[in-house]
Amino acid sequence: MNDGWIKTCNVDDVEPEDVLRFDHGEQTFAIYRTTDDKFYATDGLCTHQKVHLAGGFVMDHLIECPKHNGRFDFTTGQAKGAPVCVDLKTYPTRVENGEVFIRIG
């Protein structure tokens, strides 16, 4: 760990327009890769009923929760309407030597 940055996965572990679950200690995160190969990270659990978002569906900049189809903009964490009402926490990301880091500090 360096200034709160931690390695999560390799770039190739996440397909374009997809999401990967990453657990770190007690915490769980969702790592997203867009079609233009940008990486984003949010809390891993939906704010509605604590379901893992990594089982969900990525469309453009949206993640749809697998349980009740609640949607978040994963670039900002913004909840996009019922049944999700509370925003997701987001984390800064950076890619170095083919590895994806997030800052959780």
Partner: protein, 359 residues
Amino acid sequence: MPVEITRRDYSLVGRDSRFAVEMGLASAEWYACPIPRKRLKQLMQRRDGPPIRDTLLWFALLGLTGWLGCHFWGTWWCVPAFIAYGVLYCSCSDSRWHECGHRTAFKTTWMNDVVYEMASFMVLRESTPWRWSHTRHHTDTIIVGRDPEIAVPRPPDILGIILGFFSLKSGPKEYKKILLHCLGKLTAEEKTYIPETEYRRVFWTARVWVLVYVTVIAWAIAARSLLPLMLIGLPSFYGAWLLVIFGLTQHAGLAENVLDHRLNCRTVYMNPVFRFVYWNMNYHLEHHMFPMVPYHALPALHQEMKADTPKPYRGLIEAYREIIPAIWRQVKDPAYYVKRELPPSAKPFPASVPTAQAA
């Protein structure tokens, strides 16, 4: 270990509600058939083409049958026209309400939302309360005391089911709630699943609905004719019968309080006309297990899952050969339910044991 309880309490604020929480049945983890992520991603892809085509066809058929009903008004020919119009207005709206409520039917979000609002009005389900009740139905499918959408509580109310074919039980109840919401109030049960942030939307939508009804009634009075109400309002009643025939196949007679959709949902094969009306909701087990898959991909999802699920029903007749005797038996024996057989290749799920049995 099954826990004996004397009588079911389907209220969301009663004893069985507390029981479900204590037993870990509320907001629990459910079984999901193993499907490779890559394939699931393909199945989850949204498209606008199929739903736009289906919606235009739906509107065209509504327009045509409505026009025929008006044209032949006063003759017997208007009867078949209004039977078809009513089914398109109400029963067809059930599936549009459902798929657009999940926002999976169209790729474009606003299209889902517009069709959802329209279909909610036509099927007589207030859009916001029902969005939240359906959310709970997916969290706690057929969990007694938690699921507000259990169509056939045990012991079954046969008269209520018969009245349901023309919304004669649910319709008046829904109107009462609309009026309550107009006054800025919610029932105690609704407060258990609708968050406070949504209350204003509930109240204002109810007021708009009342305004629409008042306008149509005023139009009918001014025209001294029932015709305006035959087009808007009454079809929610006289057109409901097909949605009940389809809807009862989803869960009626199956196990309560299990955490495995394979045991409490039915998949029933239907012909293409019924599948158009029902927007593939007959693949109900598939939908419950993977609600992110849009209606047009459910037949393909069914192919992926079927080795791990009970045998689907070959049609409505086969389904009702099971449902009618089961419901009938439950009148005297509420503990009875139809046990779905998993195929030998299926993965069992440890929590798939009914935990509450009526004595």
